[in-house]
């Protein structure tokens, strides 16, 4: 047990935790936009998975990190647009469409992966320039802080900027005011001249982009490969973290880090070889998320029109 309290253990744990939090953080930040505009985007998982798959394929064939990133983002956006079309334009129920689309994406990506790469014992790797972590000279040498904060992927810094910008946009700009208004009371927003359809589509596009980026992080930055269902329900955890984070990007950052670190911890506890079935360890981050949510979730904080369809001439 004493290993747990050594500095090396702590530093690698935190560094890994931050890394594992990234895909969830990106997706959850996107979901904040969607849910603030009233879209209950259960399809988050599917958008991540689509991003992970498409970016891997593009990266594998073009060997270009930039193209792979762009493709991953675009794939997320397109998946989100499918959901938007069904839910906003055709007024379908958010949860039903979201779940169905998730299953579609899972089948779609697994199928085309086999078509493209066949079934192999050693899955192909993308190995793009810029994957993995990059140590920043000097800063990464700071004890404790250095390895945790300055030996990460470039996307880590991008994600921090995205969180800050998201907070600013949602809470300090007129555009953010419109997003929140549509999510609270679409009819009121419309009477004030807000095009609620446009706002919801834009919010969903932002969400799809960030979820796609989160998936991209998984496939081409952290693992270098794609496997079936690579996202493994991280999209759903991100949904929970949005609630935990009270639809606020900064709190979502805290929630994601919490989950990431617990996830990293359970991996290490498995490795230590405690006399406990490893399934229990696997459960740990999920169980803790539930426990934390039970104790922190407030009732009235969610956007009032979350998951609700709006039609102008229906009273």
């Amino acid at each position: 047990m004493s290993v747990i309290f050594s500095e090396v253990f702590l530093v690698t744990l935190l560094a890994a935790g931050v890394r594992m939090a990234m895909p969830i953080l990106l997706a959850a930040t996107g979901e904040v936009f969607a849910e603030r505009s009233g879209m209950l985007n259960i399809n988050l998982e599917g958008q991540m998975l689509m991003g992970a798959f498409v970016s891997f394929v593009v990266g594998y064939y073009t060997h270009s990190m930039v193209l792979a990133l762009a493709a991953g983002i675009l794939a997320g956006v397109l998946t989100a647009m499918l959901m938007s079309l069904a839910c906003i334009t055709w007024h379908a129920q958010h949860t039903v469409v979201g779940i169905t689309l998730n299953m579609f994406v899972l089948g779609f990506t697994s199928f085309w992966y086999r078509v493209a790469f066949g079934i192999t014992t050693s899955p192909p790797k993308a190995d793009l320039a810029g994957s993995g972590t990059q140590a920043i000279p000097l800063l990464s040498k700071i004890p404790l802080l250095g390895p945790v904060l300055f030996n990460q992927s470039f996307l880590f810094y991008a994600a921090l900027i995205i969180v800050a910008v998201s907070y600013f946009v949602i809470f300090k700009t007129r555009f953010g005011l419109k997003i929140r208004a549509v999510g609270e009371y679409p009819r009121a927003a419309e009477t004030m001249g807000v095009n609620q359809i446009k706002i919801r589509y834009i919010s969903m596009a932002i969400c799809g982009a960030l979820a796609g980026l989160g998936g991209t992080f998984l496939s081409i930055i952290s693992l270098n490969r794609f496997v079936d269902n690579i996202t493994a329900s991280r999209g759903f955890i991100a949904l929970a973290i949005v609630i935990f984070g009270k639809w606020n990007p900064w709190l979502v950052l805290c929630g994601s880090l919490f989950f990431g670190i617990v996830d990293a911890l359970q991996l290490r506890l498995q490795a230590i070889g405690l006399n406990v079935p490893y399934h229990l360890m696997l459960m740990l981050p999920y169980a803790l998320t539930i426990v934390v949510m039970v104790f922190t979730a407030g009732k009235s904080e969610s956007p009032a029109a979350l998951g609700q369809d709006y039609e102008r001439e229906v009273l």
Binding site: F168, K172, T173, R174, L177, K178, R180, A181, E184, Y185, R187, A188, A189, E190, T191, M192, G193, V194, N195, A304, R312, E313, L315
Partner: protein
């Protein structure tokens, strides 16, 4: 100006070739019963509904208003009957929502606040830009609604039934604001079904009935009687005829020392006792939120009673399930007809059989008997004169008056022993109020005991045989036939107990 506007919902016309001309600098009242098409017409003018036919001419030019955005850009603002405010937002956020900024990315709250306060001063509105909407009273929320339109520079302000939720002083203040707004050359369309208000505030009045124009007149040439005739299409009886109560009948409800925890301390019942006899209407007057809702809920099994006794015909109904309360013969006309009184996505038929779905008129062997239900509903629709746009549309498509008739049809026809009516005519127009009152009196004739909870003093005065005035969860006093007057009730509402009552008796 609006020309030949027609709006069709399904196969019914909500507006049929309606004309309306509004001049600058005037307050123009749009008068009509519920369901006459007033709100529909205004939603068309505000771009929320697409007209099926007709034109809108604004400042001499024909315009197409296909969205609220367009209406706002033309200078048309609207204060909706159900406020279009976001409760979780602050006042200033609600006001600037949808406006374009000065090109800066970040909202400059200081400038916004300044502008809001300037407008507030100009039209003597009471606005705190940083107050969250959910913390404001309804009256203050309405002022925010008006400020929203004025912030956009509205030159034509539409107000849809703005006074229904206001106290008398708030109403006076609103009228003052509207006057000063109209005097500065702007126009106001004031939608109402209340005759007094129309007489008081408007310069001209257009009356709609059944979706059609009836008349446009100068208000000065009209009086209440004439307007009522135009609006309803027949003479309206403002008084209520009823025989005095003999008081010899058997006791139906007996409540003794009722203690019930309330939503707030002031609305907790702190020992309330009264009785109602068969064929008697007992009125509960008082400012809302002094325990009236808790009383109704406690009597119908919806709220737990801490102490005391509730007997219906000698049978205990304290803290038994609502189902059993209903079976014992208690019917309730709830305060909120939309979310408590009816299931809004159900049809008239389905709403009418609620609570009595087991009765032979609705089901056999556990299966719904649709033929019988339809037949019975048809009878009800006839008896209660329920006017609908579609027989099998959800009741959310009904106007408030007709919705209340559905509830009355269900509750009164249940042959109940005790009928509790909470604010039975709130928000209804003259015709519907007259109808509801007649039905309540009919139930009284049949020997039902009635508990009438209302904040409308006229209603209490017209209907009740005995009146209790509620204040702070207690009865501030009881008034019996001879001394039920507006003055006495008013005094008791203010909390002046014994002295006021003695005075009242001396007067009588």
């Amino acid at each position: 100006m609006i020309r030949n506007i027609t709006k069709q919902f399904g196969d019914s016309k909500a507006n049929d070739n309606v004309h309306l001309t509004v001049r600058s600098g005037e307050v123009h009242a749009l008068l009509g019963e519920n369901g006459a098409g007033k709100s529909t017409l205004m939603n068309i003018l505000y771009g929320l509904y697409k007209p099926t036919g007709g034109q809108i001419v604004y400042r001499g030019e024909e315009v197409v208003i296909d969205s609220p955005m367009k209406a706002l850009s033309l200078g048309i603002g609207m204060v909706h009957q159900h406020f279009m405010l976001i409760p979780a937002f602050k006042t200033w956020e609600n006001i600037i929502l949808g406006t374009e900024g000065d090109g800066k990315l970040k909202v400059d709250v200081r400038i916004v606040r300044e502008r809001i306060l300037t407008i507030a001063r100009q039209y003597s509105l009471q606005i705190d830009p940083d107050a969250r909407i959910s913390t404001l009273s309804v009256g203050l929320q309405q002022q925010v609604e008006i400020a929203k339109a004025l912030y956009r520079g509205a030159e034509l302000l539409i107000l849809d039934e703005p006074t229904g939720v206001l106290t008398p002083p708030e109403k006076a203040k609103l009228f003052e604001t509207l006057r000063s707004y109209a005097n500065s050359g702007h126009s106001v369309i004031f939608i109402s079904h209340k005759l007094d208000e129309v007489m008081e505030i408007s310069d001209r009045v257009t009356v709609l009935r059944g979706g059609k124009n009836v008349a446009t007149e100068n208000t000065a040439d009209m009086d209440k009687q004439k307007l009522a005739r135009l609006m309803v299409g027949r003479n309206v009886d403002f008084g209520v005829q009823k025989d005095s109560f003999a008081g010899e009948t058997s006791q139906v409800l007996s409540v003794h020392n009722l203690v019930v925890p309330g939503n707030r301390l002031v609305s907790s019942l702190k020992g309330v006792s009264f009785t109602i006899r068969a064929g008697e209407i007992v009125g509960i007057a008082g400012v809302d939120g002094n325990g009236q809702a808790e009383l109704a809920e406690a009597l119908t099994g919806l709220r737990h009673v801490e102490q005391g006794e509730v007997l219906l015909g000698g049978q205990n109904i304290k803290n038994i399930s609502p189902r059993r309360v209903i079976d014992t013969g208690v019917a309730l006309i709830p305060e909120d007809r939309k979310s408590v009184g009816t299931v809004k996505n159900y049809t008239i038929d389905q709403n009418i059989i609620l609570r009595r779905e087991k009765a032979p008129s609705a089901s056999r062997h556990g299966m719904l008997a649709y033929k019988r239900i339809t037949r019975r509903t048809d009878e009800m629709i006839k008896e209660y004169d329920i006017r609908y746009t579609g027989r099998y549309l959800p009741v959310s498509a009904l106007s408030g008056g007709n919705l209340q008739k559905v509830i009355l049809a269900r509750e009164i026809s249940a042959n109940c022993r005790l009928l509790i009516a909470m604010h039975p005519t709130r928000g209804l127009d003259v015709g519907a109020i007259e109808f509801v009152h007649a039905k309540l009196l009919q139930a009284r004739e049949k020997g039902t005991a009635l508990l009438l909870i209302s904040s409308e003093l006229e209603e209490i005065l017209a209907l009740a045989d005995r009146v209790f005035v509620m204040c702070d969860g207690r009865f501030a006093g009881e008034l019996t036939q001879r001394n039920i007057t507006m003055e006495n009730i008013g005094m008791l509402m203010g909390g002046e107990t014994l002295a006021a009552q003695k005075e009242g008796e001396a007067d009588a």
